[in-house]
């Protein structure tokens, strides 16, 4: 049985579920925001169990867990009281304890693996070690360091957020976005605010195109993304303009890049990842970052990839492998 851990508003899960329904893969979608009303948990002397919709499952029934976007547990019985928070915490722990019995290899991906693969600066360090080319990078809060970096790259420098690019405000206040931006001389005239918080700067890569690489086990899907800025060059941040003007093209990766991608997956122990790269105007491939739980369904819909089928294949294999394994055990 494939268990899908997510929330009820996860459109990516809904997209794949609609495809899984036409496959022979048995699955259960567990939306953590409406889960508690239909489950029960048991544990007795090393035997964990979870009852879902009236049927009991043990850890051996879990062929694979697709870890998508579970949210905080919700239940009508919970309010904002300390007791409710505590009860919810206990519930969370019980459910996690059940899933903790499922070996990491059966997760796509295990959240711990996602966590380890999620630090942008560490990703860059690792990527270089694995053979990727990465842009020159500087994280600093020192004005002089930034000026020197800017000068050494002849003013071709970008700034991008390290954690995320979204500033959320309360109520009706307009939220803000921070894209990847070119740095200009003007920005460097006063740098007192750089002291307040470090910022991430990189060599600006004059791009031919961006490339989104989606890996599902052994399947690698690569898509070239093209979108022009005002000058006709590839846009600094492809996400601008709501991506409405992006042209998609499915491509094959060069063998050396493919090799690096495989090494990256192995290094972090990931079965799934969405990797952002770019091809420079000189034909050099640059690694930007890896999103261990990134999005992919938009590519199936916008670029005509068939990433969903790769998931189906992976989940089928897991299922077949598990049954084969159990059969052989029983035969012994």
């Amino acid at each position: 049985m494939l268990f899908i851990l997510t929330n009820s508003q996860d459109a990516t899960a809904s997209y794949l579920v609609s495809i899984l329904e036409n496959s022979k893969i048995p699955f259960l979608r567990l939306d953590t925001d409406c889960l508690l009303s239909k489950i029960a948990i048991t544990y007795s002397n090393g035997k964990p169990g979870i009852k879902i919709d009236g049927r009991w499952y043990n850890e051996a029934d879990v062929d694979c867990i697709w870890y998508r976007r579970p949210e905080q547990l919700k239940d009508a019985r919970f309010d904002d009281s300390a007791e409710s928070r505590y009860t919810r915490s206990e519930w969370t722990e019980f459910i996690e304890c059940f899933f903790a019995h499922v070996p990491i290899a059966r997760w796509m991906n295990h959240p711990a693996r996602n966590a380890l693969a999620s630090r942008k600066l560490e990703q860059l360090t690792t990527a270089v070690e694995l053979g990727f080319r990465v842009p020159d990078t500087l994280a600093t809060q020192e004005a002089d360091e930034l000026k020197q970096f800017y000068s050494s790259h002849s003013g071709r420098v970008i700034i991008k957020p390290l954690s995320n690019g979204y500033i959320e405000r309360k109520g009706d206040e307009c939220d803000s976005l921070i894209y990847t931006n070119r740095l200009t001389e003007n920005h460097l005239s006063k740098l007192e605010d750089l002291k307040v918080c470090p910022a991430l700067f990189q060599q600006y890569i004059l791009k031919q195109s961006d490339v989104r690489i989606t890996v599902v086990d052994s399947d690698i899907h690569a898509v070239k993304l093209r979108a022009d800025d005002e000058s006709g060059a590839q846009r600094c941040d492809i996400r601008r303009n709501n991506m409405s003007d992006v042209a998609y093209e499915i491509i094959s990766l060069p063998e050396n890049v493919k090799d690096c991608v495989r090494k990256l997956m192995k290094h972090y122990g990931l079965r799934f990842a969405a990797i952002d790269m770019a091809v420079s105007v000189n034909g050099e491939w640059y690694f930007f970052e890896v999103n261990p739980n990134g999005q992919w369904a938009w590519l199936d819909l916008s670029a005509s990839t068939n990433i969903a089928q790769s998931f189906v294949k992976s989940f089928s294999k897991t299922d077949a492998f598990r049954h084969e394994f159990l059969d052989s055990k029983m035969a012994r």
Binding site: N164, Y166, D276
Partner: protein
């Protein structure tokens, strides 16, 4: 606070984008467009990300030895549901949209976000 260097580059979310996010490709590109490619909750690290732990629990344990439970382990779980980091107030309109790349729980070692993160 509007003082750090990176904040100079913030831009308002455009209403026109928000209104066009209900379904289909546009929705998905919207989701992609507004996502940064990194994770939201990095609080499993050494430094706590917000003031969650500065509250009652911290004060309770201030005078003595803390509990065996690592509270940080609790708070490195994700943010509460419906606080959509990309869509913000657009949560409802993005119901059928693909979520952003950012996995708010990606830096958790836990399976399910806990209530301590809210």
């Amino acid at each position: 606070m509007n003082t750090s260097f990176i904040l100079r580059f913030q831009e308002d979310c455009r209403d026109s984008e928000i209104k066009n996010v209900s379904s289909g490709t546009k929705t998905i590109t919207k989701a992609r467009a507004e996502s940064s490619d990194s994770d939201w909750d990095r609080s499993y690290g050494a430094m706590r990300r917000d003031s969650v732990m500065a509250g009652t629990a911290t004060r309770t344990f201030a005078g003595g030895e803390g509990s065996d439970n690592d509270k940080d382990y609790q708070i490195f779980r994700g943010r509460p549901a419906n606080v959509n980091p990309v869509a913000g107030t657009q949560t409802q309109t993005r119901v059928s949209a693909e979520a952003p790349d950012e996995d708010r729980g990606a830096n958790q070692f836990c399976t399910i976000p806990s209530c301590f993160s809210s």
